[in-house]
């Protein structure tokens, strides 16, 4: 039976600042049907004259009852993201429906190693996968491309040693002194040094701005990864 995705009222219960321009919003969503890591939701804001605006955001947390976390990056001339990152407060309500998308998802029972490649706020759905890994013995490797250390999402959580999850930071502009890698965009050497070899047939998830995803996916296929094993999700420059 086809079930309609209905709009649900979501109440903000907690807000965590990730960077000066991004924050994680924790919502309580009564009736939430649960989600898979990698799925997204539609958010709807309504003004008092009835005008409304909708946008899609990836879910950042693993399936956790009626709790839904979104991490939103402010887009300069955006309409929705400035509201979500600067105006919304604990106790406020918005509308939300989902989960949406049955493709860019990691199903915790799947067994091949997992390679996650995120650029900027493209880390969000990948973090949901890491958080859903739990006690699974599937080994994860994350390549996280970001402009400089100040842009890091989930700093405390990623820096804690997680058994079975290896994290490599690819700074594109400014790297900390101990980085061990010259700043620059993702290159084949990064995938060789920090990824899985194609022979291990990993499940690959790439998420980020279009240029980043195009570059990473081309590098992966160039190294011999099966295109059918590479799932991508692109955030255009628009979307705010």
């Amino acid at each position: 039976m086809i079930k309609r995705l209905t709009w649900r009222v979501a109440t903000v219960t907690e807000i965590r600042q990730e960077t000066p321009t991004a924050r994680t919003l924790v919502f309580d969503v009564p009736g939430w049907p649960g989600h898979l890591p990698g799925q997204h939701v539609d958010v709807k804001l309504t003004a008092d004259d009835g005008y409304s605006a909708q946008r899609s955001y990836s879910v950042a947390n693993g399936d956790d009852g009626e709790r839904v976390e979104l991490t939103v990056q402010r887009v300069g001339d955006g309409e929705v993201s400035p509201y979500l990152t600067e105006v919304l407060e604990v106790g406020d309500q918005i509308e939300l429906r989902g989960p949406v998308g049955g493709w860019f998802v990691w199903r915790p029972h799947s067994s091949p190693p997992v390679l996650l490649i995120g650029g900027g706020s493209g880390i969000v759905p990948l973090m949901a996968m890491i958080r859903s890994r739990g006690k699974s013995d599937t080994p994860f490797r994350l390549l996280y491309s970001l402009r400089d250390p100040g842009q890091l999402f989930y700093a405390g959580e990623l820096e804690k040693v997680m058994a079975g999850v290896e994290v490599a930071y690819l700074y594109t502009r400014t790297a900390p002194p101990d980085a061990g890698r010259a700043p620059g965009r993702i290159r084949a050497a990064d995938l060789i040094a920090y990824g899985w070899p194609p022979e291990t047939a990993p499940d690959v998830f790439v998420c980020g701005p279009t240029g980043f995803v195009e570059a990473a996916a081309d590098l992966l296929t160039g190294l011999g990864h099966d295109p059918a094993k590479i799932k991508t999700e692109r955030f255009g420059p628009t979307g705010g």
Binding site: I2, K3, R4, L5, W7, V9, D42, K44, L45, T46, A47, D48, D49, G50, Y51, S52, A53, Q54, R55, S56, E79, Y83, V87, L88, E89, D92, Q93, I94, E95, V100, G101, G102, W103, F104, T210, E214, A217, D218, L220, T221, P227, A228, I230, K231, T232, R234, G236, P237, T238, G239
Partner: protein, 199 residues
């Protein structure tokens, strides 16, 4: 009307009748696809239409270029909420490609390099509603946007306009495609906001 979001203003209300419900206007051209961008060399490019009765029609790149061309200017509506007005394309109308195809089929499945598929009723491809396009904005179509050639069905959400299109299979029964089996609406009319199953 939904619940009011405290202190939400939104953009100035320049309500545009060309904008379907829930959409917003963009001026760039975002890219969305589910996997790596396939690179298709023109000397190996081919477009095919086949029917349940067993007919197959094929065109090489040269044969395809020799067909009568059209230059549609259309509005695009992506299910991820952005719309883009007045996009200019060059390509071949499906009416031209279907001219010699004889079939009782009522459904179509477009399929692409890279394995993508999308389904639609055959009538949505006919009567000036759909094209196979290979130029955008006066330039050859970039691989990221579906080049060398993509399907263009602008009256439906953009996922129906299959990138890197390789052929169209006519079918007696509807056969849901890639996104249609992943929770998205089977038909995808932006004016009825048919985004997801059950909408």
């Amino acid at each position: 009307m939904g619940i009011i979001s405290r202190a939400f203003q939104g953009r100035p209300r320049d309500h545009d009748e060309k904008l379907p419900p829930g959409q917003y206007l963009v001026h760039d051209f975002p890219v969305l696809s589910a996997g790596p961008t396939p690179r298709v060399p023109l000397d190996r490019w081919e477009f095919a239409i086949d029917t349940p009765e067993g007919e197959v029609h094929r065109w090489s790149w040269e044969e395809f270029q020799a067909l009568p061309q059209e230059t549609p200017t259309v509005d695009l509506h992506c299910v991820t909420k952005w719309s883009k007005f007045g996009t200019e394309w060059k390509g071949v109308s499906l009416d031209v490609l279907m001219e010699d195809v004889e079939s009782a089929a009522e459904y179509a499945l477009a399929y692409s390099h890279g394995g993508y598929t999308t389904n639609l009723p055959l009538e949505d491809l006919l009567d000036g509603k759909a094209w196979i396009v290979y130029e955008f904005d006066g330039e050859e179509l970039a691989p990221a946007h579906g080049g060398p050639a993509r399907l263009l069905v602008p009256h439906l959400y953009l996922w129906k306009s299959a990138k890197w299109v390789k052929g169209i299979r006519l079918l007696n029964e509807d056969w849901p495609g890639f996104w249609e089996t992943a929770g998205y609406h089977n038909y995808g009319d932006p004016w009825r906001e048919q985004r997801y199953q059950g909408d």
